[in-house]
Symmetry: C2
Subunit: 178 residues, 2 copies
DNA sequence: TAGTTTCCTCTACATCTGTAGAGGAGGAAC
DNA sequence: GTTCCTCCTCTACAGATGTAGAGGAAACTA
């Protein structure tokens, strides 16, 4: 479908060149579409941005359900897969930053597994599951950010390798401890 | 000094409108300078970006030296102060994302208190201080990101309040535990 | 078959952006 | 006072960008 091709291309563009690289014509060229196509599907730039953010959210709805026998391991694997899907994750960060000044985007992005984290914290026997869940989420998001764009991006193990998963698992285990 | 006025204005602009809002003329207008001023000081856009990132790094060199008697508390206060200085921190995130596709920026941004974190982890009796330091950094960066642009930005306590510092302290304590 | 609708391509245009350079105001050097 | 230099303002211009609409091909309906 044309529309999806456009939003997917937009995601790539944003990941590789930042929000500044996202223009109607750039998408056309990148996707090999005739000039004007993107502009026809998304008349304004705002629409284009919302389109790509929605696409991003859709693709992520295939949620994370941790295996109860290996919670840390399954979370680690999920995180690692997000590191491997570098572009999608980078685009998501760009979108989150953008949502800072365009609150409409927030409602699209929420995906936040808040209850999931709280439930997990309860299961693990934390005293204040609400807060522990928030801290857990913060830690996981932070781990991802650190490894992808922060200090860890230059030093850490290569995403997709067993070593990377193990390093993540080690960190996640620490975070899960009540 | 003109130059600093320009870079400071650039930081504000980036925080409030994203990298896309950073143009020579926008800075001129925002700073109340005659049109062409920014372009005279920073001939190319690349120079302008590097200029504002350098300014950002300079301002942050006033580093964090945690009080040994209250490590968690002093870290929490520092984090909270970064939440309060919302614009500077947002601009830093924008710069980090930008550094993803403009590696020159990375060398300016490094600020990474890597050895500091490792030293701290050693002091606290972690087995593998190198790794523990990295995880600690990840967690702190994550906490900040989560509270500023992530899920916690809509739910968490208001930055600058005692409640906010306490919440952060609670989280930091958990992270410091060997 | 003819009519209608949908989807797409092309073209247009006002505005913004990056970048460059001409030239003036004012102080410093002589 | 004249010359020189630095700092700044103004203007110019090619190219990019956001947005709109005209019109055609293809698909569907009757």
């Amino acid at each position: 479908m044309r529309r999806d091709l456009i939003t997917d291309t937009a995601i790539q563009l944003v990941a590789e060149e930042g929000m500044r690289g996202l223009t109607h014509r750039a998408v056309d060229r990148r996707a090999g579409l005739p000039e004007g196509s993107t502009s026809a599907y998304f008349r304004t730039r705002k629409a284009l941005v919302e389109g790509f953010v929605e696409r991003l959210a859709d693709q992520e709805r295939l949620d994370v359900v941790p295996d109860p026998d290996d919670v840390a391991g399954s979370i680690a694997r999920t995180l690692d897969s997000w590191l491997v899907e570098r572009n999608r994750t980078l685009a998501r960060y760009a979108a989150m930053l953008e949502a800072t000044h365009h609150p409409e985007l927030k409602s699209i992005l929420v995906h936040s597994p808040r209850e999931q984290a709280t439930a997990l914290a309860t299961m693990l026997g934390h005293e204040d599951p609400e807060r522990a869940g928030a801290h857990l989420t913060a830690f996981l998001e932070g781990l991802l950010f650190y490894r992808l764009v922060g200090g860890g991006s230059t030093v850490g193990p290569t995403p997709g390798t067993e070593e990377s998963v193990l390093d993540l698992k080690n960190a996640v285990e620490k975070a899960l401890r009540p």
